[in-house]
Subunit: 231 residues, 2 copies
DNA sequence: ACACTGGTATCTACACCGTAGGTCTACGAA
DNA sequence: TTCGTAGACCTACGGTGTAGATACCAGTGT
């Protein structure tokens, strides 16, 4: 028992040991965990452990876990650049689409959040970062001469296409990448042969999916279709 | 202490009190819960309670909760009719699309499962009910003269469109349905006015979204686009 | 110098979750 | 009768999100 009265200001480890928790740091760390292990492995406790803080401190920067997930989706979506001053609106939409695809492929585990979270929140209550791309596309299109409703229509068509495409592309994950035979690589040999003959016969076609080309073709069709008669 | 030796065959309540649990009953009940309260409110314990059984009995019919969710998605998707003998393939695709939309609107809370679960499972390991519509569309299209890869391509385009559209349409939920003013009804008055001027100005356009018409237009564009040059 | 105050970090606790493992019961076959 | 087996039930474990109490600490008024 040495100097029982001495109570130095710092004792057993600075309470905010690494750094002073901020919303950005928290969301960045959450994104990292999700990228590595998927959404369902992200828990408040694990996130706090990764940040070297008490779990409850997280609630200072997000009212609950759902809001935290919204925040993660927001940080990813905020990396989507939209140049609303581009005079060639169609080219800019193409560029946005390509960037969106790149983002989705960079964070495949976040895609369920991107497509699903908006279903849970009425539009006006969504995190502002989520609405920014929408507003940006709207200004791009109205500057190009479209009316408001038409711009909205085109925005919806574009992101419908994007969501659909990204979901398609991310499904093309491979069962056993080391296998050389497409049928085995995709695990299709497990299918009851009498029941799914066509599906089984398309092994090589399935294996040679080209996401980038597929998206370009979708954009071709969409942009051509938008040029034809008004809704 | 009366007759300590007496041990009647039925004691405190028939152990399977309501009925003899089956996979169908289990999935139907799970679907009901999800329809009412959403996915995150479905727990094994609550499902068991609703079925008047022990939670652990559920594991006799599904190896784990993820499989149960897959089963729910499967039961919904199995209600999607595809007539692969229809000689007019385009008309049949339209019909499938409309039925899919109707299904999604009937079970909006299941849609996250429909679009998300496939991301977690390689194609060949998915529940067979999930692959049935795929095989059916493929036979429809090959009977119509398309090659296998082309049929696959069209299938992907169709379901990309459908997923995108359904996600779009289900976002259009309204914040406060009693309000007459569109701006208030959508809660758009809460947006910082300087930041989202266009979005705010589109309140009435947002409020008058017509999902059925939008889908038809998407189908028009898609089917027209498929008629033009080959990939 | 002191007491007080208000915000922040931490701790404890609660109700619930998914599910591994063991036990009890009922029933068809030998 | 005995046995094997399949199904239902129970208990228990480690985890979850988060409400609420508590501990701390800077800043301010006196």
């Amino acid at each position: 028992m040495v100097a029982p009265t001495a109570r130095p200001t710092v004792e057993v480890g600075d309470p905010p040991p690494t750094k002073r928790l901020s919303r950005e740091r928290m969301l960045a760390c959450a994104l990292e965990i999700i990228d590595q292990d998927g959404i369902e492995k992200l828990s408040m406790r694990r996130l706090a452990r990764a940040l070297d803080h008490d779990p409850m401190s997280l609630y200072r920067h997000a009212p609950n876990k759902a809001a935290l997930l919204d925040g993660v989706a927001e940080t990813v979506l905020n990396q989507l650049e939209v140049d609303s001053t581009d005079p060639d609106w169609a080219a800019q939409l193409r560029a946005v689409a390509r960037r969106y695809r790149r983002l989705a492929l960079a964070h495949p585990n976040v895609v369920p959040l991107l497509v699903t979270r908006p279903l849970a929140t009425p539009l006006a209550l969504r995190p502002k970062g989520t609405l920014r791309p929408l507003e940006a596309v709207l200004t791009l299109l109205t500057r190009a001469g479209f009316t408001g409703p038409d711009a909205l229509h085109i925005y919806r068509a574009l992101f419908g296409l994007l969501h659909g495409h990204v979901l398609n592309e991310l499904q093309e994950l491979v069962d056993n990448p080391d296998e050389t035979d497409d049928l085995l690589r995709l695990g299709l040999h497990r299918l009851p042969i009498g029941e799914f003959p066509l599906l089984r016969s398309l092994a090589t076609a399935l294996a040679s999916y080209d996401g980038a080309a597929e998206l370009e073709r979708g954009l071709d069709i969409l942009l051509a279709g938008l040029a034809t008669p008004h809704p």
